[in-house]
Amino acid sequence: MAQLETELQSLKTEAVNMWSLVNSQLNKARQAFITFDKDLAREVVLKEKRVNGSELKIDRDCENIFALFCPVAIDLRFLLAVLKINSNLERIGDIAEGIAKYIIDAESPFSEDLLKVTRILPMYEESVNMLSDTQDAFEKEDTILARSVFKKDDFLDNVNRSSHKVLEEYIQKHPEETAQALWILSTIRKLERVGDQAKNIAEEIIFYLEAKVLKHKGKFA
C-alpha cells in the first residue's frame, strides 16, 4: 500500500530530525558546561520550544496513521516504538534544558578537581554517544548497535553510584565548594536519567525490529 509507506517514511524522517535536534541540544549543553558559555546555554533553553513542538507533531501524525491505516505487524510495532521514543526524546530534551538553566544560574565555572574526581565529563560524553548510537541504530535498523547501548549504560550507573561517596569526601575536604558539588550531583543524576532514556529507546528499537520485549528483563535477552 503505497500511501501507508509514504506516511511511514515521512514519520521516520520526522523522528530522525527530532533525534538530531535533541542530540544537538544535549551536545550544546555539554559545550556550555565545559566552556561555561552562558549564551550557548540560553540558545538551548530557547530551542526547547522546538523540541516540544516536534513531539506534538509526531504524536499527532502517529494518531492519524493509526486511525486511517490500521497498520499491522512491523508497521504497528514501528508506530508504537516511535510513540514511545518520541516521549523519551522529549524528556532528554527537558534534561538538556535543565542543565542549560543551571549553567545560566551558576555564578562561576566549576573547579577542575571537582570535575575530574566525579568523572562527570566522560559520563556526559558517554551519554551523548548512547543517544547517537540509538539514532544510528534506528536509521540503519541495526539491532546489534542498539544492544551495545545497554553496556554503555553500565558505565553511567557506575559513575552515578560512586558519585555519592566521592562527593561526600570532596565536600569534607573543600567545604567552600559545597554548592558546586551539590550541583554536580544533580547533574550526574540527570545524566543517569539520560542513560536510562537512551536504554528505553534502544529497547523500543529492538521491539520494533525483532518483536522482542526487553523491558523489565535482564540486560541481554
Binding site: 500500500m1 503505497a2 500511501q3 501507508l4 492519524n64 486511525a67 486511517l68 491505516f69 490500521c70
Partner: protein, 252 residues
Amino acid sequence: MESTIIKSRNFNASFGTNHVVKNVNIDIPRNHIIAVMGPSGCGKTTYLRCINRMHELIPGATSNGEMKLNDEDVYQMHPIFVRLKIGMVFQRPNPFPNLSIYDNVIAGYKLNGVKLPKAERDEIVERSLTKVALWKEVKDSLNKKGSFLSGGQQQRLCIARTVAMEPEVILFDEPTSALDPISTSTVEELFHELKANYTLIIVTHNMQQAARVSDKTAFFFLGELVEYDETKTMFTNPKDQRTQNYITGRFS
C-alpha cells in the same frame, strides 16, 4: 482555489412511499476523493445513483431537490448528457461479455454509433488502459474477450471503459467488495492516480477503505447525511455520536 463540482441542496429520494434519502446537503470539491460510508440501507447507494440519474430508471423511484454539476441542475439536463459527464463503476465487474478487451474500452463510443478513425480509437484505448495500469498486462491480447481476465483486471477494465469517455466525475458503487485483497489494493492505488484528472465519489461499506483512500468522508445513517468532514478528523475525532458509534463498531 477549490471549486465545487457537485452540489446537493435539500435532496430527497424515494422508492414509492419509502423515503430513502432525506434532505441531503453536500458540496463536493473538484479533484478530491470523497468516500460515502454508512451501514446497509442507509441510502448511500441510492444517493450515489441519483447523481448520475440511474435512480430514476427503477420503476416507482422518485427524487426531488437540487443536484448541480458545475452549477447546472442535473435534473434539467438530458440524462444521456449527464451520464456522459458522470461515469459509474459498479460493484460486480461487468465488462460486456461478447466484446473483446479493445471493444470494451471503446464501447462508449462504438455502441453509441460515434465513428472515430482507427488511429484515434487506438490512442483512446491505450491511454485509458494505461491510466488503469492495465496496458502492459493486456496489450498483446486486446482481441481476447473481456471475461477471460481475473476479477481485479475486469474491474480495472470497467474503470478504463468509464475513463475513456473522459467524464468529469466518476462514481464508484462499492468497487472492490467483490475483489480479493490484492486486487483491492491495486484498485485503491488507482484512485490516487485518477484524482489528478477526475473527481471520485466512492460508496463503500468498508470503513478502513474509506479511511485509507479518501480526502473527505460523508457518513450516512438512516437516509440522512450525519457528518461530512476531512477524513483525518472523521476518524480521529468525529463530531457526531452516531458517527463515533459506527466507526468504533458499537453497531454495524
